[in-house]
Symmetry: C2
Subunit: 657 residues, 2 copies
């Protein structure tokens, strides 16, 4: 990759393209809007499976579509402009002029090249509805709503046909997951403020997605330009890399030089919502001194970013002067950068936060472009010791007050949350947020459930993320292994995304999402039937799973391994299961009834399938065993035993060749 | 390491020795037994901390003691023989003769060398108490009980002196964690069957440890010889490596050739309890054919392993004939190897399990050596789809029945659990186990909370492990990244152990363990004060934390980084916190009262400490800034911002030199 390209004039960006191993890109068309193409990734199984492809949610955009032409210099297709225009009530206008300070006053070789194509920004006409919230309140179902309904439905209809819905038990803690998502359901959730579609009318390249606890749990990945250790090309590549593995939104936390141009390149090439923290750029405009910040420079920055198409802003308007002293006795003070900036400003001027005082003006500005609020938790705890303290909850209560103001002004809102919280204090956070903020979507960082594992904070936080997702958190902001230690590189971004996809999916399973278990079951069948390739491809990271397997199992032995004779003909768990099923099938009805066994039919069917499969197993087993008797290798009393024994057998027989 | 040594005659084993970075080995002496030396690891902080060393639990044995002489050829010191003999009621005798079949009938170059020093085994005299359970019931406090009380107390007394006990809130779900562990408390917990000290009287090298939900949550690491891909030397090294990073017990799951000799080398060099699954070796003795198993060969194997000093046996006596058909309609059938073996045997002979029928004889045999039961979950679910099904719970109910029989026979017992369980079904497992098994310690594998991440199952299971540990699980069996895919190597073992130490510690925090948070707080203070070295050393893996940090921050810049000027003098979270504390200290009493702030004294103290520290910060900051102005680098709105900005600054100033 371009890791070592200096942050100077932009070279031609390169990004990772092509389908994920074993998957193909597909599109579906909603009945309600035949002109929409909604992406879905289909994991195609081997013939041995005798199963249809497994559809999975696809955040990766055109980059995984082999038929798409990708040119970062041009950016992605701007299909959403038409949707916005046909709703009316907007105007194109001459946007704010880009100033040198927007890029840190750099010039010459240090100035990153501007994105080639400029577009005149759109904004709402006075008094006309423009936000998804306003349309929803007005009872109008937008194309964005139809799009996300189709996108969220993934696999549910198929599952309902298979009557597997009954499988989806779960404890939802008050969430109301419908069996099937309709555009009207999407509209009603947005109108209630319980979900948002972050979709700036100037982000025409967006593939709309929804954030709310009655939908699939989402994850966010943070990237950002660093004047020293990364480049614009790298950030574009990181964004594409993050969504390839499943990031649903991406926050550009760039600071320093070239902020404006970096963000332009990212947005024009982003099919996912892009979030920012505008105070970061505002701070750069006043030479990094929080004391010099004021409403004018902040407002100027909001307009700049609204016109570019940023979909949501983190705004720390809940850090009020009176709350700042509440952090005085903390172990780790204020760890949110935005929170520190505002605390410093409040103390230096001994004034109430201008973000809090100007909040209505901020709403009126953001409404015109449908930029969603991500109300920042500037006073979140930075350690287990500070979790759930008065400072944190005082701010949360104010975020609730601001949520209602933003709704009155027609804006979409979500709420940011901690941070560092031990397991027994996580649910308290979720419950209080739902209560204080009228069920507006919650968006948390982790939380980390212990502070003692620097280098492994994707794991300390993945535990907390899975739990709070289960309890109702709508979006989980990833943490990478480099947290607290350094800047995440490409590998860290992938590890963070995969870890958070695990947390989000575990949450969906536990909530009882009606389709979530379809993928687990398909993978479990593949695992049990030794369809190795299917097992890899159904996983979140086929490349890594296959690489680990190949460490002990050479590729050329794959066919043999496919039907595994790991334990030799005398001891094979599949054969034993076949015996079990034959035995069960042969039991008398009374015995079956006593055991509460499945009906004769189902049992017979399974027994037959396994008898058929069994023959294949033993043919292969004997072929392999012919060379040498199967050596007995380490068998951990877990499924790893299979791979292990398998590997040993194949190595042995290869030697024999 | 010896990765590629063939499994032939044993070379001189090499193991990893020396202290963990930043730590020193120490020993304490319990008042109740001045002849005991109980190990503790002390993390020594830098002078800047002005804090005493942080004591942490130390499972690593003499290998991390620089003053200890380590010679795997001789094995560890056999200090426990004296403790056992002074209690009386035992005899030394001519043990069972070692037969070729014990090592898979291999000879010559394929036979692993026998451990040089043989010891005559000990066993209980008829009718004399010998197990920790029997002594506890008789009201006798053994040296093992005194030892583990001292060992568990780690940091609690210190904390109580600091009156931090109040900090330890938490939800214990009925666990009763004492503020301070006394030998009598240990005795009473063992007498109630609520805790065990796995300690075969023939494992004289053991440093006793306790497993129970009112003690620190423990973790187990699986290792095991593989005839093809590893060697005896590697397994010894893996055992030492696993306990170095915190494995509290180790299971030797060796199969194939050289089982007896491999196990002997491991036990003679193991300061932690060693567990096995005897049916694995019994199966080898009948040429891998489950159908040929019988009581005689199994009993012979039990005696062989009892005499060697194995501390606990996994015995799948709950897999009853009648339960086998209950697995017929499962997605993944029977995934426990031991469970499959017994299911196959029961069906082939159409007879009740001989392990179930002979259970009392098994108890009588194990009692004589104080080998603890780890009642195996042979019917545990192998997928989310099969979690909490009738087969699993029917077996668990039988394990409850067997627990009471084992107690009546004077044996110590713990219960094995799943496996694969979605989050919302985890607590049901814990609650049912406590109810059915009379609060005997629970010992689970994970559980994995989703099936869709092969290659990352240390994470899918770490989530479930943290939760079930919180709910009351006493020991967590690790899962490595290679689960389902291949044999774990040395790196996988470390990753698995660290992940499970995170889960166990997160559980202790959430349960409200009175001393657990001491380490989190010390690390958080180090983090907040930019004492990088202390942050690394207080973590579970100082090497990895330091390596990640060094990727962006060169060592030679460490001193400057130590007091961090990452954001330049104008923006420093430490400076801002100082401002906050000065401000708070200056508030009137009424204002303070209104905000519920800490007392003047405490505030003043903190304010002073930070003022002092602040001067140092700005001296260094100015020195660095003198070279060049601090460049502004990517600042994720998380603590990573600090490391990032820091790294950039130092790189820049290095360039300037």
């Amino acid at each position: 990759m371009n890791k070592h390209t200096p942050a100077t004039a932009l070279a031609v960006p390169t990004v990772t393209t092509g389908p994920i191993a074993g998957s193909r890109k597909a599109y579906t068309t909603p009945d309600a809007a035949p002109d929409l193409k909604v992406p879905v990734r289909e994991i195609v199984l081997t013939d041995a499976a005798g199963e249809p492809p497994v559809p999975v949610y696809d955040a990766s955009g055109p980059y995984t579509d082999p038929t798409a032409t990708i040119d970062p210099e041009k950016g992605l297709a701007r299909h959403r402009t038409a949707w916005v225009k046909e709703r009316g009530g907007i105007e194109a206008y001459q946007g704010r002029e880009i100033k040198p300070v927007d890029n840190g006053n750099v010039s010459g070789a240090h100035l990153a090249r501007a994105f080639p194509n400029q577009h005149a920004p759109l904004r709402a006409l006075e008094g006309k509805p423009v936000t998804q919230y306003e349309w929803a309140k007005a009872g109008v179902i937008t194309k964005e709503m139809i799009y996300v309904a189709e996108r969220e439905n993934l696999g549910r209809q198929k599952m309902l046909e298979r009557a597997e819905a009954a499988l989806a038990d779960g404890e939802s803690f008050g969430a109301a997951l419908p069996a099937f998502v309709t555009p009207e359901f999407v509209r009603s959730e947005i109108a209630r403020g319980r979900a948002i579609i972050p979709a700036n009318i100037n982000h025409a390249e967006l593939e709309p997605m929804i954030i709310g606890r009655n939908f699939l749990t989402k994850i966010n990945a943070n990237i950002g330009n660093s004047a020293v250790t990364s480049s614009v090309e790298e950030e574009i590549d990181k964004m594409v890399w993050a969504i390839r593995w499943g990031a649903d939104t991406v926050m550009d936390l760039s600071t320093g030089r070239n902020i404006h141009n970096t963000r332009e390149w990212i947005i024009r090439n982003a099919p996912v919502p892009i979030g920012t923290v505008p105070i970061y750029q505002a701070l750069e405009k006043v030479d990094g001194d929080p004391v010099k910040l004021d409403w004018e420079v902040y407002k100027d920055t909001l307009i700049e970013q609204c016109e570019q198409g940023v979909d949501y802003f983190t705004i720390h308007a809940g850090v009020r002067l009176a709350y700042v002293p509440l952090t005085a006795s903390r172990v780790t003070g204020i760890v949110s950068r935005g929170g520190s900036i505002m605390a410093k400003w409040c103390l230096a001027h001994h004034r109430e936060s201008f973000l809090y005082e100007r909040f209505e003006e901020i709403c009126e500005l953001m409404r015109k472009y449908d930029v969603s609020f991500s109300l920042g938790d500037g006073l979140r705890p930075g350690s287990i010791a500070d979790a759930n303290d008065r400072a944190q909850f005082a701010e949360l209560e104010t975020l609730g007050e601001l949520t209602r103001i933003a709704w009155d002004k027609g804006c979409q809102v979500m709420i940011e949350g901690p941070g560092h919280v031990p397991m027994h204090k996580i649910k308290i956070n979720m419950d209080k947020q739902l209560k204080e903020c009228g069920e507006a979507p919650f968006y948390t960082l982790g939380p980390l459930t212990t502070d003692i594992a620097p280098g492994y904070d994707h794991i300390t936080s993945g535990i907390g993320a899975a739990m709070i997702g289960w309890f109702g958190c709508a979006m989980l902001c990833y943490v990478t292994p480099k947290e607290h230690l350094g800047l995440p590189d490409r590998d860290d971004v992938k590890t963070g995304v995969i870890t958070y996809k695990i947390a989000a999916h575990a949450a969906d399973l536990a909530k009882g999402h009606p389709a979530a278990q379809v993928r687990d079951d398909a993978l479990s069948r593949a695992r049990f039937e030794f369809r190795w390739q299917d097992q890899f491809n159904l996983g979140l990271d086929p490349d890594t799973a296959c690489a680990y397997h190949d460490e002990t199992l050479p590729k050329d032995a794959h066919k043999v391994a496919h039907f595994c004779s790991m334990c030799g003909p005398k001891f094979c768990s599949m054969k034993i299961t076949q015996d079990v099923r034959d035995y069960a099938a042969g039991l008398g009805d009374n015995e079956k009834a006593a055991l509460g066994l499945a009906a004769e039919a189902g049992m017979k069917e399974m027994s037959d399938k396994f008898n058929a499969m069994g023959q294949q197993v033993y043919v292969d087993a004997d072929q392999v065993a012919a060379g040498k008797p199967a050596p007995r290798t380490t068998a951990l009393d877990t499924e790893a035993a299979h791979a292990a024994r398998n590997a040993a057998l194949v190595k042995q027989s290869n030697k024999a060749l």
